[in-house]
Structures are given as C-alpha cells and as structure tokens.
C-alpha cells in the first residue's frame, strides 16, 4: 500500500500526457471557412497609385483580398481597422502578409484616393481598382456580389457588396474566407496559422 501514492502520481502524469498529446494532435480550427482548392486562385491585374498590382506579385506572402468602396462608412472601415489590428498583433510576421483592398466603385475611387484611404489604416495596405468591366470580372470570379442602389440625395448611390475577405496562401491558393466582423484577434490567429 506504500506504493499507492506513486501509482496515483504516475497515472495522473500519464493521463496528462495523453491529454496534452491529443491536444497537440488536434488540428487548429480556423475562424474562417477553409477552401481546399487544388489550383491557384484566379489572378488579375488592377491599378494602384504606384502601378499595376496582381495577387501573383505576392507569391510567398499570405494575401488578404477585401472588396469595398471608400464612400462606405461602416463595413469597410470596420474590416480594414480589424485587418490593421491583426497586422499589429502579428508584429514582425505581418511583413509576410499583404492586404489588398479592391474598390468596386471605380467612378468615385481613383487609385490615388484609394492609396490615401487604405494607407491611413496601415501603410503596407494596397488599394486597387480598374475600369467597370475589369472590376466586375475580378469580383465575379472571387464570388463577390455587388450592386449599386440609390441612396438619399445627400448620400448619392450606395453599393451593396459581399463583406467577407478572401485569404490566399503563400503558394497562391485561395485558402480561407473570413466572414464580416470576426475581429482582429481571430484574424491574426488564422493568418498566423497560415504563415507557419
């Protein structure tokens, strides 16, 4: 009976080992929806204030695409601020992340205006747009639905648009769809996992 405490201690240690082992084996669960695309994400070229930009330029980095327009006061600044917050949380790792904001409002958003706009969230962010047909094609293949509707005389037209962000991994494959409003912590955790 003298050995009982030892047996108890060893059993506890074993159970703890199994528990931690099982935890380590358990896969990371993403906050966004995983897409297991076998092929590269569709590539495109749109204009930024400092020249043409394509997702393929950022091979080797994790790229986040978000579609919106600068006139939008709620969803777009919220998401861009959340992405900027995630960049801060990631610290040095954030240099391996490229956020690209695609404007679906080429009539009002020039590349220069976009550069100023996204730059005030994080100087590393890039803002791009193109002519109406180019933007429509890019949005279509990324499953981004958008349409103009009339606002009030003061607001002018408004644009409804899909508010999720698309994450492309280092190999150029679409990996993750981040829903609106998941917050900087969760975004940073998902990006960190993809950067491993």
């Amino acid at each position: 009976m003298k050995r009982l405490p030892i047996i108890l201690a060893v059993t506890t240690a074993l159970l703890a080992g199994v528990w931690f082992g099982a935890r380590a084996l358990r896969p990371y669960s993403f906050h966004g929806t995983i897409i297991q695309s076998p092929e590269p994400a569709p590539d495109f070229t749109l204009q930024s204030a400092s020249g043409p930009v394509s997702p393929s330029d950022f091979r080797g980095k994790v790229t986040v695409l978000f579609f919106g327009y600068t006139f939008c006061p709620d969803v777009c600044p919220t998401t861009l601020a959340d992405l900027a917050g995630a960049m801060r949380i990631l610290g040095d790792e954030a240099d391996e992340v490229q956020v690209v904001f695609v404007s679906v409002d080429p009539d009002r958003d020039t590349p220069e205006r976009l550069a100023e706009y996204v730059g005030s969230f994080d100087p590393r962010f890039v803002g791009v747009t193109g002519n109406e047909d180019e933007v429509a094609a890019v949005a279509a293949v990324y499953g981004i639905f958008y349409e103009k509707h009339e606002g009030t005389p003061a607001s002018g037209y408004l644009i409804d648009h899909t508010a999720s962000a698309m994450v492309i991994d280092r190999e150029g494959r679409l990996k993750l769809v981040l829903p609106f409003g998941i917050g900087p912590q969760d975004i940073a955790a998902d990006l960190h996992e993809l950067l491993k």
Partner: protein
C-alpha cells in the same frame, strides 16, 4: 455668475462622460472611428437606453462635423452581402426599458460629407433629437483603431 460656473462645470462633466440623458433617455458609449484620409463619410455609434415608461423615438441627428446626418441601418443578406439604407420610417423606436445598440454592422448615425478630419483622441459634438425627450447634446469620442 456662480450659477453660470456651476452650469459650465455640469456641462463639462456630462461631456466628459461622453453621454447624456433627458426625459428617461440615456445615451452612453458614443464613439466613432478616426476618418481615413480621403474619406468623405463617417459613422457614429452609441447605446441608447429608455429608462422611462413611455416609448420614445430617435427621429434625427446633427453635427457640425457633418454636412448631412442620417440614421442608417446595415442589412445583411444570406450570403454575406451587406448594404446600408436609411432606417424605415426615418426613426428608431426606443421601447421603455430597452437599450438600442448602434454598432458596426448594425445601426449607425451616418455622417455624410465630413467637414473636418476626425482625429483619434478628440471629440466632436452630436445632437440627437428624440420625439419625446427632445434634443440631447453629446460628444462623440473618436477612438483610435
């Protein structure tokens, strides 16, 4: 003179709390984001509580920081498409005992045509107009992202 000093102090205290109350309506946590460069519009958020026992309605808002102010709501369709529109009927119902949250992705006071840069750490004045409680002077705290 002393009365004026007290009044100024009182207003100061209310403004510092970034909230206000009148006729059972209490507004707290009034905030907005710093305006990104090149932005023309902004949104203000807050919590509105009706502590009285009669229903009230938020019918309008105004701010010297905005050319035009409207009450907006976001709507989300099934697949994640979001858009905004002026609230139906132009007013937001605040039921007795209820708190209505204005927050990203939901309701906001839409500030169209910002007249000045909204800098983090500063405040801008905002007047909310209620059908029963009348005008409420508030300060919007501009919070760093």
């Amino acid at each position: 003179m002393r009365r004026i000093v007290v009044l100024v102090l009182l207003i100061g205290v209310v403004a510092a709390a970034c909230g206000g109350s009148a006729g059972g309506i209490e507004v707290t946590d009034v905030w907005g984001r710093p305006s990104p460069s090149a932005a023309t519009n902004a949104a203000f958020y807050m919590n509105i509580t009706n502590g009285g026992d009669a229903p009230d309605q938020l019918v309008g808002a105004s701010s010297p920081a905005c050319s035009v102010t409207e009450l907006h709501e976001m709507y989300m369709k099934d697949g994640g498409v979001m858009g905004m529109r002026p609230v139906q009927g132009g007013a937001v119902e605040i039921a007795p005992g209820a708190t209505v949250e204005f927050k990203p992705g939901g309701l906001h006071v839409m500030c169209i045509g910002i007249t000045e840069e909204l800098k983090p750490g500063t405040t801008v004045p905002l007047t909310l107009t209620f059908e029963q409680a009348g005008d409420l002077q508030l300060e919007v705290e501009i919070r760093a992202n």
